[in-house]
């Protein structure tokens, strides 16, 4: 199993223990390869994922199969912070909802950046 498959399996509670084991093994193999041993090292990483299939009706509104996927939780904080810094530097043209755009087009209005 490749790293990507192991990573994707983390969203399936039934496969989680095996996915973590596979992921760790594959990472270890890669790190221990003679060519990469000096460059890479094994690092423990924290993830948040479901280990149990909840026997709940609530999810049936979106997922009829109760043995399916539960979204792993990640943090995009670093990307969002970098994007905010870039926004101040780049000052991109506003991107607005189509209804707002139609309104602006009809009035030939312009923007004033806050």
């Amino acid at each position: 199993m490749a790293l990507s498959q192991a990573s994707q399996s983390i969203g399936f509670p039934m496969q989680l223990p095996a996915a973590i084991k596979n992921f760790s093994n594959l990472s270890r193999n890669l790190v221990q390869s003679p060519e990469l041993a000096q460059l890479l090292e094994l690092k423990p990483r924290n993830i948040i994922a479901s280990r149990v299939i909840p026997e709940q009706d609530l999810l049936s509104v979106v997922r009829p199969d109760p043995k399916g996927f539960l979204p792993p939780i990640i943090s995009l904080a670093a990307a969002r912070t970098k994007a905010a810094v870039a926004y101040d530097l780049v000052k991109p043209e506003p991107l607005v909802h189509s209804q707002v755009q139609n309104f602006l087009n009809s009035k030939s209005r312009s923007w004033t950046r806050d």
Binding site: R28, L30, L36, Q56
Partner: protein, 386 residues
């Protein structure tokens, strides 16, 4: 301590900054008994973090999340110290941690206060500005990892591309990797529901519209972190010009998962809670109207559940990784469950809590670059904006 200090960006909000300070001070003071002091809205005597280890004179800290371009003023320090003097038992050491930059005037103010305090037998103050906090992040990589976590194997796949364009500088490392492993090395961010900061811009006096252009930059940053597929919670065409403004390599990774039906499902699940707390859902589930005032925090808890439950369900339906604060969500669900008297509302909250409780933090052995190798690789990493 790594050979070089990596650049970190200050957290976006006060709560995240306080959490970062707590984790760093626990390590730096070697004090597992450090805790956040009180909760929002309670009088805190200027103390955000305090050592509950039972010392006669505890150590404490205050966190000030300012713009990194600003400097903390001497007045800010004086007022923080005045507040901290009220704390009982009297403090031994008081640290002001801030995202602001250093200034000579503030340092002189601290020197003067410390001289005065020494004469009076009061606590010692220490100011730790963002540049010093970054040094601590370098010293305690576990904290950096926990707060900033950069993706499981992001670096390896990005580095692979960079190596190719670096005229074979490191190519020998990667020639030896089997094709399957090299091609399939995927980052933590495989298929992500993208959420971005929305800016308000003024169209005319007093009229504001939501500007989503930060979305373009967030997509760019996520791709730089190795995200393979970026799910946008819109219908295609909802934001004219969005795709045109994305260069090809970014556009190819975007998928649209907007789902009005799912928003209605959220309304169905939350309707008993809305009824209990006299909330009206408006504009097709895009806004909430609170008709009554409730206990402190109730509005925030409902809004948090309303927004994150939608993200959760869209993640379930489209097999996405999502960015939600599960601790805050669980807390909000439990609080509402406590205050709720409507059986249907209580039942739905119990079900949501049951699902959230199946989540656990766990550790995976993953790949990282040795810190001793960073100086060699830094030019590559910088060009990749890792």
């Amino acid at each position: 301590m790594p050979a070089i200090t990596l650049k970190h960006y200050p957290p976006e909000n006060e709560q995240d900054f306080e959490r970062l300070c707590l984790l760093l001070l626990r390590q730096h003071w070697n004090s597992p008994d450090l805790q956040m002091y009180g909760r929002r809205g309670q009088a805190q005597d200027g103390v955000d973090i305090v050592d509950l280890g039972g010392h006669a004179s505890p150590r404490a800290a205050q966190c000030k999340n300012f713009s990194p371009l600003e400097a903390l003023s001497p007045d800010d320090v004086v007022s923080a110290v005045q507040e901290a003097k009220k704390f009982r038992p009297a403090l031994r050491r008081f640290e002001i941690m801030t995202t602001a930059k250093k200034s000579k005037n503030t340092q002189l103010a601290i020197l003067s206060i410390n001289q005065e305090h020494r004469e009076q037998g009061l606590f010692r103050i220490r100011l730790r500005t963002w540049d010093e906090i970054e040094l601590l992040l370098g010293k305690y990589p576990d904290v950096s990892e926990e707060v900033y976590g950069a993706g499981l194997v992001t670096v390896i796949s990005e580095l692979k591309d960079e190596v190719r364009s670096a005229k074979g500088q490191f190519a020998s490392f990667f020639r030896q990797i089997s094709t399957e492993e090299a091609e399939s090395a995927r980052p933590q961010f495989n298929r992500v529901l993208v959420r971005c900061q929305i800016k308000l811009i003024e169209q005319s006096k007093g009229t504001y519209f939501a500007d989503y252009s930060m979305l373009l930059l967030t997509i760019e940053e996520l791709v730089a972190l190795g995200a393979m597929e970026l799910a946008l919670d819109f219908v295609k065409g909802e934001f004219p010009g969005l795709l045109d403004r994305l260069p090809d390599p970014l556009r190819q990774r975007v998928v649209f998962v907007g789902d009005a039906g799912l928003r209605r499902n959220v309304e169905v699940i939350l309707s008993p809670i809305y009824e209990e707390f006299d909330v009206e859902s408006e504009h097709g589930g895009f806004s909430l109207k609170f008709n009554r005032s409730w206990e402190s925090g109730t509005h925030e808890w409902i809004v948090l559940i309303w927004t994150t439950l939608y993200d959760f369900l869209i993640g379930v339906k489209n097999h996405l990784q999502i960015d939600i604060d599960i601790r805050k969500l669980l807390f909000a669900v439990r609080q509402l469950h406590y205050y709720s008297r409507n059986p249907a509302a209580r039942a739905n909250l119990a079900v949501i809590e049951g699902i959230l409780r199946t989540y656990e933090g766990t550790t995976v052995d993953s790949i990282g670059i040795r810190s001793s190798q960073l100086p060699r690789l830094l030019p590559c990493l910088i060009s990749l904006r890792v």
